[in-house]
Symmetry: C2
Subunit: 408 residues, 2 copies
C-alpha cells in the first residue's frame, strides 16, 4: 500500500492516540524483576475488536475477553506475562474472571469493560496473590507519557529480545488520526511459553463492527502470514480499541478516507508482524516470501505459508544457501494448483529458476545477498492473479538450543 | 497385527523371494567410490504395483515408471543415486527413457517391463555417459546371493547412515511365501537430495490389481505416516513386485491366508518406514506417536502427523523434555475435532495429562525415559474410535548443521 496515505510517527506509542493511558509493573510472576503485569486504559468507552487463536485449547483469558467484547466496546485491557493461564481448568477461568473484576474495581469500570490477556507457562495456576497485589498498584502507575507505554511494552514480553511498538498518523476529514500498536514475540518461544499478543489503539471514530471487519481482513494478510515454527499457541490474541476522540465523521468503508485509515491500520499490523518474525526464536534474519500469479490470493497465501514454514528452506536461509530445489519442492507440496512448467524463482534480484528450469546464477552474489539480515524469496507461478506475502525467519542452532533446553 | 501371522527371516534379503536377482555398482554419479547404480530383476513377469510422491513437481523417472506399470507387470527396476533427474525438463525425460531402454536391451527385456527410479541432486542433468557405461556392466554383476542384494542396497543410499532391508515369511496354502523390502533414507536429507525410495519383492501369487490395492492401503498406514521435516520430495517412489513362483492359489482379499500375507506385507513396510524415521537427518532417536479415541482413523492420522511434525515437540524430544504443553498445543491446531476436556497424554507409561489437566509426574523418570533411543507419545482423545500410529525423529543441532551446510 502507498506509504503516502499515512505518516510514521517516530516517537509515537500506544498512548499517542487521544484518550489512552498505560502502565506496567513487576508483580512477581516472572522470576526476574522484569515487568509482568500491564494495562491499557481508555478515558471513554472505546469501540473494540479482537481476533483469537484458532487452537482448540484456548486459554481462560480468551473466553473472558470474548465475553467483555460482546457489546463491542472496552475501557481497558489487563495483561500478565510469565503464566499463560492455559490448561488450568475451572480454577483458571475463575482466576481470569477475578483479574477482570479486580482491574475493573481498581479503575472504577464495569467488569465487561475490561479485557484480559495472559502469556507464559502452560498448565500452571496463576499466583493470584501476586496478581491481586499488582492490580492494586496499577492506578498510581498509569499515565499517558512515553515511559508509561514503555513500561507496558516491557510487561508483555516473555523471551522476546526487543519490544515491538509503532505509531502512524493518517488524515481523516483533514484531521490527524493516530493508529498505534504493541506486540510480543512469536513462536512458542520458550518451553511452554505462549505466542503472540498484540494491542492496538486509535483515536479514530469507527464502530466496533467496522473495526472488527477491518481487523479480520488485515490480520489475515499480516499476523496470520507469519510463522516461526508453525506451532499455534493457546493464547494468541489481538485487541484493538478506538477512542473516537478525533471526532471526525465516523469511518465506514464508504468514507473517503477509509482507504488511508485502512492503509495505516495495515501498516501497523504488518510492522508488528514482521518485527515478531524477525525476533523469532534463534532467528538471525527476516525472511519474506512473495508469491505472485497464483489462481487466487487464498491459494497464494497457502503456497507462501508452505515455503516460509519449510524447515529445509529455513535451514538453507540460515546457511545462506541459494537452495531453490527446496523452495520449488515446498511449492509443489502446498496442495494448490500450479503449472509445473511456468514457475520463476528469485532470491532478491537474483533469478535462480525460470519456467521451472534452473538458471545459471552468480553463487557468490547469492551467498552475499542471503547473508544479509533480510532475505526475500519471490515465486512467480504465472497461473493466475493471486498474490500473497508471508514472513518468517531462519532455522538456527539457537532455535534448537532454546527449545531443547529442559524446562527451568 | 499379530506377529504370529508371519515369521522374520533374519538373513533374508530382497533376493530371497523366488525369481529375484539384484546388482549394484559404482558408475560415477557419486563423487566417492560408493555404489550409485542398481537393479532388481525378476526371472518371470512379476505382478507389479507402485505409489509415488504427491509433490506436483515429479521427477522424470516417475513418469517413465508409471508408463511401464500400465499393464500391471514388471521384469526389472533400475535405480541411480547421486542425481534425482528432477526439474530437468525434456532432456531429463529423454534421459529417463534412455535409462529404461538401455537396461531393457542389456537384460533382454521389453522397455515397458522396466521401471526407473532416481535420487540425488535436483536440477542437474544426468551424466548419461556414466549411466550408460554402468548399465552395460549390470548383466555380469547380477546374482541372487545376499552379496548381490547388499550391493543393491548400497547403490540406493544417499546420506543414509545405515541400509534398510527386511524379509519375512508367511504361510499361504501351507506353502512358504517370502516378502522382502529395501529402502533409502527419508527427509530431503542433504541439500537438494531427494526423499524416500523403497522396493519390495515377493514370490507370492497375486494380481497387480490386488497388489496395488494392498500397497495403497498399507503405505497410508506406514510410509505415509512418517515425517522427518515435513518436506515431501519430488522423487518418492515405492515399487513392489510379485513373481508368483510360490505357486499357491492366487491371493485375493477372500483368500484364507490374505490376512497373514497382508500382515507380513505391512510388517515389511512398517519396519522400513520406522528405519527411515530413526535414520532421519541428525536424528538421535525414533519418536512414535499413538493417537487413540479420535472421531475416525483419518482424523487420528491428521492429529498424529501434526504432533510428530511439530518442531517444538521434536526439539523437546531432543532435549528429553516432558513438554506436554507442546503436545496438546499441536493436537489443538491439527484442525480435527477434539473434546478439549477429555485428553490424556502419556510418555511411555508416564502419565502427564488426564482430562486435559496436568498430572504430577516423576520428572527424573520422564527424563530417563525420554533419553532413550525410542520414545512413545500416547494421546487418548476419548472422542471416538479412530486410531493412528505415526513415526518421526527428534530435531537436533545436526539437522540444522546438515541442512544449513552450503551445497558442495
Amino acid at each position: 500500500m502507498s506509504q503516502s496515505l499515512f505518516e510514521p510517527v517516530p516517537s509515537g506509542t500506544i498512548v499517542t492516540p487521544q484518550g489512552f493511558q498505560a502502565a506496567g509493573l513487576h508483580c512477581g510472576l516472572k522470576k526476574t524483576e522484569r515487568n509482568d503485569l500491564g494495562v491499557i486504559v481508555c478515558s471513554v468507552p472505546a469501540a473494540a475488536a479482537a481476533v483469537y487463536t484458532t487452537n482448540l485449547f484456548q486459554a481462560a483469558p480468551l473466553q473472558v475477553t470474548r465475553q467483555s467484547l460482546v457489546n463491542g466496546t472496552l475501557r481497558a485491557v489487563v495483561v500478565n506475562s510469565g503464566n499463560a493461564n492455559a490448561c488450568t481448568g475451572q480454577q483458571g477461568e475463575q482466576d481470569a474472571y477475578t483479574m477482570r473484576a479486580q482491574t475493573a474495581s481498581q479503575l472504577g469500570l464495569a467488569e465487561d469493560e475490561v479485557a484480559v490477556a495472559s502469556t507464559g507457562v502452560i498448565g500452571e495456576l496463576l499466583k493470584m496473590d501476586c496478581v491481586t497485589a499488582g492490580i492494586a498498584q496499577l492506578p498510581v502507575a498509569i499515565g499517558n507519557q512515553p515511559e508509561h507505554a514503555e513500561e507496558f511494552c516491557q510487561a508483555i514480553l516473555t523471551t522476546d529480545l526487543v519490544k515491538k511498538e509503532i505509531c502512524v498518523a493518517v488524515q481523516v476529514n483533514g484531521q490527524q488520526v493516530h493508529i498505534a500498536g504493541a506486540a510480543k514475540g512469536s513462536g512458542m518461544i520458550h518451553p511452554n511459553m505462549a505466542t503472540m499478543l498484540a494491542f492496538m489503539t486509535t483515536d479514530a471514530v469507527i464502530s466496533g463492527e467496522h473495526l472488527q471487519q477491518l481487523l479480520r481482513e488485515t490480520t489475515d494478510q499480516t499476523f496470520n502470514m507469519i510463522t516461526v515454527d508453525g506451532d499455534t499457541s493457546t493464547n494468541d490474541m489481538l485487541v484493538a480499541m478506538a477512542s473516537g476522540l478525533a471526532e471526525h465523521e465516523a469511518l465506514t468503508p464508504g468514507h473517503p478516507d477509509w482507504k488511508a485509515f485502512a492503509a495505516g491500520f495495515r501498516h501497523v499490523c504488518e510492522h508488528l508482524a514482521k518485527s515478531i518474525a524477525r525476533d523469532g526464536e534463534g532467528a538471525t534474519k527476516l525472511v519474506e516470501v512473495v508469491v505472485n500469479g497464483a489462481i487466487s490470493d487464498l491459494s497464494a497465501r497457502a503456497i507462501a505459508k508452505t515455503v516460509i514454514g519449510s524447515s529445509l528452506v529455513k535451514s538453507a536461509m540460515f546457511g545462506a544457501d541459494a537452495n531453490w530445489g527446496r523452495i520449488i519442492a515446498a511449492v509443489g507440496r502446498a496442495g494448490e494448483p500450479v503449472n509445473v512448467d511456468t514457475v520463476n524463482i528469485r532470491l532478491g534480484d537474483i533469478v535462480v529458476l525460470t519456467g521451472s528450469r534452473p538458471v545459471p546464477f552468480d553463487e557468490e552474489a547469492a551467498l552475499k545477498y542471503l547473508q544479509g539480515d533480510t532475505v526475500q524469496i519471490v515465486v512467480d507461478l504465472h497461473y493466475g492473479e493471486g498474490q500473497a506475502l508471508a514472513w518468517g525467519c531462519d532455522l538456527t542452532y539457537d532455535y534448537v538450543r532454546i527449545n531443547a533446553a529442559y524446562r527451568t
